[in-house]
């Protein structure tokens, strides 16, 4: 994909010589996606849909986009599947090494900065939008957003991916500081359900996780159990 971006005016589709092989076999695998992360007092709640697409074909309808980076730190991946998997593997290694050197659980801010370092240095070659979320002893629950381009910013609530455009309004009007863990889970599930309804590249099941000092709790909401709204 990087090569074609550098040559916008080729015109001819030079790659598809064989008519027997359909378009979507050449397309890069993208996570399409809607991802979301919310801070609450004592931890974070993260959520994602489960659809991975190659062009118009759904390559994996039960993807897990919530990737553990360390015991209490997760990342939500959006953009190119290959790029985000590779970056997450690199950061997992770097953070694990750093944590052993420190002999202490790593900070969420450290993990976020490691993501930023990779995403910014190779910004021309990568397509990765990542939310880093977790709990540490110093600042409690934190959410950091590392969008395409390699910016790093901490936010109390953040959404990402192609489906996020449809839920900014919902998020702005329904989030308030001081929500409980259960309320955050409900908010995330509702927002993801709305985005999956409207965005073609998002769908499947909702994967939720909540991270706090006590530990990690993962949940899956299947298609028929998704929160329902007026239009469904």
């Amino acid at each position: 994909m990087a090569a074609t971006a550098l040559m916008p005016n080729l015109g001819l589709n030079v790659c598809a010589n064989s008519d027997l092989v359909p378009d979507w076999t050449d397309q890069e695998v993208s996570t399409g996606t809607t991802i979301m992360a919310v801070e609450y007092d004592g931890g974070v709640v993260i959520g994602a849909d489960s659809r991975t697409t190659t062009g118009a074909y759904i390559a994996n309808r039960v993807t897990d986009k919530l990737t553990p980076i360390h015991d209490r730190i997760f990342c939500c991946r959006s953009g190119s599947a290959a790029d985000t998997q590779a970056i997450a593997d690199v950061v997992t290694y770097q953070l694990g090494f750093h944590s052993i050197e420190l002999d202490e659980p790593p900070l969420v801010e450290t993990a976020a900065n490691l993501f930023k370092a990779s995403c910014y240095r190779y910004r021309e070659e990568l397509t990765a939008g990542i939310l880093v979320a977790g709990w540490d002893r110093r600042k409690g629950g934190q959410v950091y957003s590392v969008p395409i381009g390699g910016m790093l910013v901490r936010q109390p609530v953040s959404v990402g991916g192609s489906g996020s455009s449809y839920i900014y309004g919902f998020m702005d009007s329904n989030y308030k500081p001081g929500l409980s863990r259960e309320q955050c889970l409900e908010l995330t599930a509702a927002a993801l359900s709305l985005a999956m309804e409207r965005d073609g590249s998002s769908g499947g099941v909702i994967r939720l996780a909540s991270i706090s000092e006590e530990g990690l709790e993962r949940r899956v909401i299947l298609g028929n159990q998704l929160p329902r709204f007026f239009t469904r």
Binding site: A2, A3, M7, V29, G79, Q85
Partner: protein, 293 residues
């Protein structure tokens, strides 16, 4: 490539602005300049009406599923070069290690060499650790290599095997992303095969039923996709045993011709026969040796 549509447009504008001013001498890592050159050459050739020779692709239907005792991999056996069948009975299930096999779709050379390289490295790794290799290790090695080549190695793989942690199945895409699933299909016939899997797959199937399901999935690809054809190969991997069944099903046996265009002697009646011998002498004889080494 599906992305956030609005940010893609802004992103492209911003990155153009950013790259104009930045001049990187040699950032290290791979240099894909020749790939750009190749694409331009191909465009030039197409413009004047020529087409460069295409690499043999495997068109292909490959699939795998996890059943009660292990993993079953299936593949068709047709290799295509453009619109022509290059090989009617090629082997698409490659050996990685005694307990791990890999089906390959995409460019035939790429799948063959990639699996050979990783098989070799995995054997060395296995001798180093003193243990039977794990499927997750093979997956890591394959995905890191394919990501390094940024999708230019056109190998889409279905990796399956049984190790100390049980049966595992991965699908690996040319750009280096992988998915760990109970059933996967790849190649041009993957949609046909996936339709069969989605209809009839259940967790913990028995071997006979699982083999039949894989056979039917590949058959769906063979008969409904032009890029796939010929026979069905199967590979059943269980703890301690591998059954490489080639072919499992000769779905497209070459038939016997019922008629012949050759005419029998005597079909055309002979009216007259005149024989004129030509007396020829050998004038000159030269011998040129061929270098057949």
């Amino acid at each position: 490539m599906k992305r956030n549509a609005t940010s893609r447009k802004y992103g492209l504008v911003l990155s153009k602005m950013a790259t104009v001013t930045v001049c990187r001498t040699n950032p290290g890592g791979f240099n894909f300049e020749n790939c750009k050159r190749n694409l331009l050459l191909e465009a030039e050739a197409n413009r004047v009406g020529y087409s460069l020779p295409t690499a043999t692709k495997t068109g292909t239907t490959i699939c795998g599923l996890v059943y009660r005792d292990g993993v079953i991999l299936g593949a068709d056996t047709r290799a295509t070069e453009g619109m022509v069948v290059a090989d009617k009975n090629c082997s698409k299930i490659h050996y990685i290690s005694p307990n791990i096999y890999c089906c390959g779709a995409g460019t035939a050379a790429d799948t063959e060499m990639t699996t050979r390289i990783i098989s070799s490295n995995l054997e060395l790794h296995s001798l180093s650790t003193g243990r039977l290799p794990r499927v997750a290790t093979a997956n890591r090695m394959l995905k890191q290599m394919l990501f390094r080549y940024q999708g230019y190695i056109g190998a889409a793989l279905v990796l399956g095997g049984v190790d100390c942690n049980g049966p595992h199945l991965y699908s690996i895409y040319p750009h280096g992303s992988t998915d760990k699933l109970p059933y996967v299909t790849m190649g041009s016939g993957s949609l046909a095969a996936m339709a069969v899997f989605e209809d009839r797959y259940r967790p913990d199937m028995e071997e006979a039923e699982a083999k039949q399901l894989v056979r039917d999935a590949i058959a769906a690809g063979i008969f409904n996709d032009l890029g796939s054809g010929s026979n069905i190969d199967l590979c059943v991997i269980t703890k301690g045993k591998v059954d490489y069944i080639r072919p499992h099903d000769e779905a497209n046996k070459k038939g016997v011709r019922t008629g012949d265009y050759k005419y029998k002697r005597g079909t055309t009646g002979v009216l007259t026969k005149m024989v004129t011998p030509l007396a020829l002498d050998v004038v000159e004889e030269t011998v040129t040796t061929m270098d057949t080494s």
